[in-house]
Amino acid sequence: MKKDRIFWGTVAPLAAVVSSLLLVSIILILRGANPIEIFQVMISYGFDPRNLVSELNQTVAYYLAGVAAAIGFKMLLFNIGIDGQYRMGAFFGAVVGAAVSLPPVLHVLLIIITAMLAGGLWAAIAGYLKVRRGVSEVISNIMLNFIAAAIIAFLLGEELLGILPEGSQNVQTRPIPLSGQMPTFKMFNGEVYSFLFVAIFVGIAYWIMLNKTVFGFNLRATGLSFRAARSSGVNAPGMIFITTVLSGAIAGLVGLGTLLSDTHSYSMAFPSGFAFTGLSLALLGRNHPVGIFFAAFLWSFLERAAPVLEYEGVPPEIVIVMQGTIVLSIVIAYEVVARINLRQQQRAVGKANVDLVKESK
């Protein structure tokens, strides 16, 4: 049974990736390009040691976004608010980090906790609205994303929390002092963010929480059936609220790798779009901490390879097509796998019944 699950859990994503590659190949051939050559270029560039390091750093951010989405998915919550939660986390982490002066490790811890609190509290608004007022978390989160952007844009004003370095047009927060920065370590001629270990810790904690704790059991139970969980004594609305906050707190960590190890300040150059990425990755990785890691790495690998495609006469948007078809195929693949499983189960049950009937005769 368990072996079966791992087998199908691996086959489905692989099938999705392969069918996406086939589809992209057709597009490339129609454009007059040789798909094999293009894939070779992508692979050789993407596996260049220096790029690998860069991909790993990006994977950390995507991984956290994926875990944040997965926590929501376990509860059937569609956390499209990851973007706003990440932004609040990175911004307030940067502001608090720059405002205080503490011994090295404590300083970093404070920034991490601040970011989680900011992301979690921001998500709590959507959680409260859902539990108390029945507002769909999708709607409220989309709105909250906009509001988060507006609040930060306001607070980054020069007279408030932002600064504009001489000659720059990029508004940013004051830099975090050395004690609040996280070191990088050398690997393959590149600099790996040590925030990687925080991401690994989050992945392990997520797995333990989900599979080895009462809380995780209640969470999964509520996600599977709200009513059943409630009638068996689980505080289901409370679970929804806590899960939302937890998902937001993890989302608050998404930007910290870049913040703590690279830029040391939050600025207009911080990326957006983590919500859709996170949701796609949770889907692709089947909400499993290891699966999400591979999905996140695949994503950052593909994105990394995009610029090199421009020099091969292929529009870099082909990478987005690839990502899109992977997500689409994965949904189909899981559905197919689910039906196969269902049929097998039915067959097994049917056979057992027949045996039972025979025995009783």
Binding site: N51, S54, N57, Q58, A61, R87, F146, A149, A150, I152, A153, F154, E158, L164, P165, E166, G167, S168, Q169, N170, V171, T258, D262, T263, S267, M268, A269, F270, P271, S272, G273, F274, T277, E303, R304, A306, P307, V308, E310, Y311, P316
Partner: protein
Amino acid sequence: MQKKLLGRWGVFAVAATLAASVVTGCGSDSEDAASTAEGTIGIAYSLGGRDVPGFNQLAYIGVEPLLAENPNLELIESQDNPTATDDQRAERLRLMAQKGANPIVVVGFTYAAALGKVAPEFPDTTWGIVDDSSVTAPNVHSIVFKEEEGSYLVGVAAALKSTSGNVGFIGGVNTPLIAKFEAGFIAGAKAVNAKIKVQSTYISNFPDFSGFNDPAKGYEAAKGMFENGADVVYAAAGGTGTGLHKAASELKKWSIGVDADEATYPAHADYVSTILTSMLKRVDVGVGAFVKDALAGNPTAGVKTWGVAEGGVGYTTTGGYIDDITSKIDEYSAKIASGEVVVPTDPKA
């Protein structure tokens, strides 16, 4: 979508109107050297790439005549994406340098941190960055503009043409850079009519940069301003400006474009009768001059600021709607060039 507003033909149309000034604009004596130039020019665009009219496209238009003159000259291009971090932008620039491009034009201030990292790694490559002067390296040339001065001039035009004493400003994304446009426009309008009312709005807040490419919201914002009494509205908002021009042509009010001569955009063909003028930000001139000098072997480092005096900003007279007031506008222009008038860069000041 709007991205494709200005297709290939549009590029040539705008290029044709601007090409002449690119050649005369840089006025260096490196003409002969450049006409036999070979090598590879790189352009790293900001969001949207070359097809976004105005800003990004002007960088391309700046090098286009050089490419046409020199068959041995190649161009490689790359564009930013919204999910990119500084680290990824740095890698984009690194790749371009590794591909042998020199000089490389980097369009937009979001590249500043990335360029600060990459430029020292490639000391033999000449880098030019538009809209930022915070990167100081011996091989980095900053191309910055006094947007407030050009906006001041169209502010003067707006106030002179307004009969209601009420004009409007639409900014694409609320950033310090776009605030310079707003500040100049307000100052110019007030210079003509101290009591003029200026309505002001921005389409989006960063990190949501959609405000530079959202004609539908531009239309609504402009319509609101016109209904609120404005009769001239200026949009410093990239592709969003198309919505303004549409609203203006429907309501028979004036609109003012930005960056390039918006009355020559094919997508604006239906609205030309109400496009009063456009504020020119000659990214093409700045980029063209930089690339030409670099190709001729005289790369210049440091900051080059293009204002009214340098011919880096100005206004257009397409359509002839402001022919009656150009002499007045030019008076203000002369005052700015001579330093008699100093245009503010902060709208709140």
